[in-house]
């Protein structure tokens, strides 16, 4: 795959829900490359969900352009873009409607016309990755909330899209589950998938994302490596986002490289002691 051309290209995107209504997105330009691991941050109402819905054609630009792998989102239907951009909704119950876990997982690939073998293989793989093997015949609504969330992700994984978007995937989960999920996403990213997470958990974004995008008032405020973004204190203050405690603490302790997680801090500190 050509590494130089971005997989999603957003050009001067503006958007309002109604003709002549107020602009929710006010001219955003952005490039997402294959292999990115991006966390999108911003308060509710900032436009971050609206922006992400343009990545798979759920919404179309009022002006400007969004291209996914050279397909224009205005002229390509969502169902076609779905093969390249998977979207896991925040509430799994919005996506689940089949009578068995297996039907649910194979629903996407079947709709998109994958071969019988591909459907079978992808389905098995998705089950395994999300640790749902053995539950194929269960009715989705007999699963616990956490299992349904994993199922929703599995249904998108079975499509094997280049880009996987997850909307608040770790809401309400404890540390163990969150770490497990992020580990899975990290693996997928290493295999070549582009991961985009919308999240409110800034500690999570700091620890796992390779790139952070901050949306404020319909515009792109900050875009870069977490460390660089978190150094922009004044701009972050505008959006009522606060940097992770460990980052602020690292700076207060005047560490050479501010830490993005407790583990990083410990490593930096030990290096410091040895020096």
């Amino acid at each position: 795959m050509e590494k130089s051309s971005p997989i999603i290209k957003v050009e001067d995107l503006t958007f309002s829900y109604r003709k002549g209504g107020s602009l929710v997105l006010k001219g955003i330009s952005l490039e997402i490359n294959q292999g990115d691991f991006i966390a999108i941050l911003g308060q509710n109402g900032s436009g971050k969900s609206t922006l992400v819905r343009h990545f798979n054609g759920l919404l179309q630009p009022t002006s400007g352009r969004v291209r996914v792998k050279e397909m224009d989102s205005k002229t390509t239907p969502v169902s076609k873009l779905a093969a390249s951009v998977g979207y896991v909704f925040q509430n799994p119950d919005h996506q689940i409607f089949c009578a068995s876990v297996w039907d649910e997982i194979t629903f996407g690939p079947k709709n998109l016309g994958y071969s019988k073998d591909a459907v079978e293989a992808n389905g098995r793989e998705a089950l395994e990755i999300m640790e749902l093997t053995g539950k194929e015949e269960r009715h989705p609504h007999s699963l616990s909330r956490g299992e349904r969330q994993r199922l929703a992700i599995a249904t998108v994984l079975a499509i094997k899209p280049d880009v996987i978007i997850l909307d608040e995937p770790t809401g309400g989960q404890d540390k163990a589950r969150t770490e497990k999920l992020m580990y899975i996403l990290k693996n997928l990213n290493e295999k070549g998938h582009t991961i985009i997470i919308i999240t409110h958990d800034i500690e999570l974004a700091a620890e796992y994302a390779k790139r952070v995008v901050v949306i404020f008032d319909g515009g792109l405020l900050l875009d870069g490596h977490p460390r660089d973004v978190f150094l922009e204190e004044e701009q972050l203050h505008q959006t009522f986002l606060t940097v992770p405690d460990i980052f602020a603490f690292s700076r207060a302790m005047q560490l050479k490289t501010p830490a993005l997680s407790p583990a990083e801090f410990v490593a930096e500190y030990k290096k410091m002691k040895l020096a």
Partner: protein, 276 residues
């Protein structure tokens, strides 16, 4: 004065094989703020506000005392007036057209005389800082604002105890801050606050005690600093980052004075670290 006391509470849902609460003993004093983490938190909340056993079928043993009275002998109306409950989803707690209508709703249900209502509405809205929004339509509010209205609507009943079951789960960081700010104010006003959340660092800032439920029983019931010391190494509860880093570097001992915020970290580390 006791606000709530649970004596050996055991509860089993009808459709489950095992009880989810297996002998819970808690005493919450008037004016305390306690945080509950772990498993079956919602079940425990529901038992503290009388929904269990009155509205949810199941097998209950042991007793729940609300301001000294056995909850099983009280009616839902009596309990509602003493214990205000705020749930997780802001959308499903507002049923009326505007903020004012939502705030008066509970008062009307318990039969508060109309002459008294105006004062209570004003007070409740003031505590949650939603007075300018009194006539705003519910659907125009943000998540944080909606939850604040939900809090105001139960405060209007003038309960002595407030239980919040994951109130910030659906909110963004700003909304979360708003709610914790309100809780801080409520604590100062003397109301007993019981909060269930999955945000240990923020809870640590306002809770007097933090409780962990594991395997249906209370494993820990201690002040926040000690709580995190006990939970160091736990795979399910996340420590505040500064505390985590501190313990990873210096290890855990009886005497450890655990820093939980950036400010405390700077103070305590500053004394130990040699500069480089």
């Amino acid at each position: 004065m006791e606000a709530i006391r649970l004596e050996n509470l055991i509860f089993k849902y009808n459709r489950k094989a095992e009880p989810v609460l297996k002998g819970i003993n808690i005493t919450v004093k008037q004016g305390e703020c306690i945080a509950i983490l772990g498993d079956s938190k919602t079940t425990l909340c529901m038992a503290m506000c009388g929904v269990i056993p009155h509205l949810i079928p199941g097998h209950m043993d042991g007793k729940v005392y609300i301001e000294g009275r056995d909850s099983a002998t009280m009616g839902v109306k009596d309990i509602a007036a003493k214990v205000g409950v705020v749930l997780q989803d802001p959308e499903n707690q507002s049923f009326n057209l505007n903020v004012e209508a939502d705030v008066v709703f509970a008062m009307e249900n318990i039969g508060v005389p109309p002459e008294e209502m105006e004062n209570r509405v004003q007070e409740a809205l003031e505590i949650v800082r939603m007075t300018p929004f009194r006539y705003t339509a519910s659907h125009q509010l943000s998540g944080g604002q909606k939850q604040r209205v939900a809090i105001a609507s139960v405060l209007a009943m003038k309960p002595q105890i407030l239980i919040l079951d994951e109130p910030t789960r659906e909110l963004d960081p700003m909304g979360r801050e708003e709610i914790f700010e309100v809780l801080g104010r409520l604590k100062k006003s003397g109301i007993t606050v019981i909060i269930v959340e999955n945000d240990p660092p923020r809870l640590a800032k306002i809770a007097d005690r933090m409780l962990l439920i594991r395997n249906g029983q209370i494993k820990y019931d201690v002040a926040p600093r000690q709580f995190f010391k006990y939970l160091y190494g736990d795979d399910r509860i996340k420590l505040p980052q500064v505390a985590q880093a501190y313990l990873d570097i210096f290890g855990l001992s009886e005497q450890t004075n655990l820093p939980m915020s950036v400010k405390e970290g700077v103070e305590m580390y500053g004394k130990i670290l040699s500069h480089y």
